[in-house]
């Protein structure tokens, strides 16, 4: 009888130890997984930032070849600067395709950020912002101009808080369900994430 009790105790202890070890294993695995995710996010963010910076470098280099745009009483000068800059960038990026900045990995990360905003506690406010901003439905192409005279949809400010920051030359805009990266001065579509807004 005593030996049976001993064996039972031993088995219980063994089970407990195994459970503990497994549990500890799980506990140990989680930080690694989170850290891995953080590393992955950092890598993606850096990748995105590098791609945007490369674009901005091109923008600046091409703009430097034009007479500088300073505040002017002549709107024609603003328009001609915009058109000349757009022409140069379009020529330099004539092979640009969707995904040159929003790569599949970066797109996946952006979709997660956007989903969080549009499914989170602030979702109704964010959707209201899009509605109030007089949304438009237009077909856009990478390296094409944003149609003149078409309003720029207001981007929910709480979404902007969660998206990676951008240099002043470019901005995010939402057109229908697409998130676009837009060159402000040249009025060009730099890249697009289709069906980004749920």
């Amino acid at each position: 009888m005593k030996s049976r009790i001993w064996i039972s105790c031993l088995l219980l202890c063994l089970c407990d130890e195994i459970t503990f070890l497994l549990g500890a294993g799980t506990v140990r695995r989680e930080p690694i997984s989170e850290a891995g995710q953080v590393n992955e996010d950092t890598r993606l963010l850096k990748d995105f930032s590098d791609r945007v910076q490369a674009y901005v470098k091109l923008h600046k280099r091409l703009e430097a070849s034009l007479p500088p745009l300073k505040p002017t009483p002549d709107p024609a000068k603003i328009v001609s600067h915009q058109q000349a800059l757009a022409k140069k960038i379009q020529a330099a990026r004539q092979d640009a395709k969707p995904g040159s900045i929003f790569t599949p990995d970066i797109t996946e990360r952006f979709l997660r950020l956007i989903r969080n905003e549009f499914q989170g506690p602030n979702a109704s406010h964010a959707r209201a912002t899009l509605r109030q901003g007089e949304p438009v439905k237009i077909r856009l192409g990478v390296n094409a101009g944003y149609p003149k005279g078409v309003p720029l949809t207001t981007v929910p400010p709480t979404l902007l808080l969660n998206l990676p920051r951008l240099p002043p030359e470019v901005e995010y805009r939402i057109v229908d369900h697409e998130l676009i990266l837009r060159d402000i001065k040249a009025n060009l579509i730099v890249d697009i994430i289709p069906k980004a807004i749920p």
Partner: protein
């Protein structure tokens, strides 16, 4: 007889504004009310800060020109120095002709008179407008400037990114002036068809409260609305300087006074701790007026459709008590 039948609907359509005013030349004279109804009830104190406010003006339509003429007329009696533009400065493409037809020509009398326009961007505006000297943005989408004892903050509510929020907080923190006035396109509180910009409000209102912003002007809604003070801040929507939408003010409980029957603009005078305001329609009818005390305890109060000065000011005539346009 047949000619008469065709003629009558044409006259009716023209009269009601259905015939595109863009096709019509600017009017030689604006339809006006009687001299009595145009009396100006602003104190015109020496060294006061005087300005006009208009939003959503850049249509190029005949009625925009009529509002502009009305503004120029009022400037003879109330020599305001500058104009706040609340966005949608140029509808349609930003062509040189567009700037001419929708800004330079309608406001020529004011521009020639040395009036400066300080623009904020609306959702119909290309951000490159910030390089247009006529808008005094100096190449910036958001900016601040001082007039007398007032600090003005022109914001880009169409793209309120973290950089702009950080800039605003820094500017508000360092603004030593007595009055802090913010203006931007989308109203944080509104009874119009678009409604309140609640997402924007969650970010801006805490800053306004923290740093003591007194008054906020917005456009976007094509109407005039004075909001009941929200947490001590006075909000005005004045987005009907280019066109208006009749019947757009809905019952929300936010409205202190409103007008959506015609186009309108505002005149404001700030002297010491008092801000006097008038909202004026296209035909020169005063649709709202009052005074705001900068002291936290003071407020604009209304009694059965009448707008009264919250604190009686001895040297102002009694006629300053104005009837507020009834809300539907």
């Amino acid at each position: 007889m047949r000619r008469f039948i065709l003629f009558v609907p044409f006259i009716a359509l023209t009269w009601s504004g259905w015939v595109s005013p863009a096709l019509s030349p600017p009017p030689k004279s604006v339809p006006t009310l009687s001299a009595e109804s145009q009396e100006l009830f602003l104190p015109l104190r020496p060294n006061s800060v005087r300005f006009a406010v208009m939003g959503d003006n850049g249509t190029g339509h005949r009625k925009q020109y009529e509002v502009a003429q009305q503004m120029a007329g009022y400037r003879q009696k109330f020599p305001f120095e500058f104009v706040l533009m609340l966005g949608d400065n140029i509808y349609g493409p930003d062509t040189p002709l567009g700037f001419h037809k929708k800004f330079e020509r309608p406001y020529k009398a004011l521009l020639d008179g040395g009036v400066k326009f300080y623009a904020a961007l609306g959702n119909h505006d290309d951000p490159n407008q910030c390089f247009y000297k006529g808008f005094n943005m100096n190449g910036r989408k958001y900016y601040a400037y001082t007039k007398g004892n007032c600090r003005f903050f022109a914001l880009d509510s169409n793209y309120m990114d973290p950089e702009q929020l950080e800039w605003l907080e820094k500017e508000l923190r360092n603004a030593g002036s007595a009055w802090k006035i913010c203006y931007f396109h989308h109203p944080l509180y509104s009874s119009g068809r678009h409604g309140s910009a609640t997402d924007l409000r969650t970010l801006l209102e805490p800053l306004f409260l923290k740093y003591g912003v007194n008054v906020v002007f917005s456009g976007h809604e094509h109407l005039y609305e004075r909001i009941k003070p929200q947490k001590g801040i006075y909000y005005f929507t004045s987005g009907a300087a280019g066109h208006s939408r009749r019947g757009d003010i809905r019952k929300t409980g936010l409205t202190a006074a409103g007008y959506d029957q015609d186009l309108s603009f505002m005149l404001v005078e700030i002297t010491g701790d008092e801000l006097y305001f008038l909202s004026i329609s296209r035909i020169g009818k005063t649709v709202d007026s009052g005074v705001i005390q900068r002291r936290v305890t003071s407020h604009v109060s209304e009694l059965s459709g009448q707008l009264w000065l919250a604190a009686p000011i001895p040297d102002l005539p009694k006629r300053q008590i104005r009837k507020v346009e009834a809300l539907h």
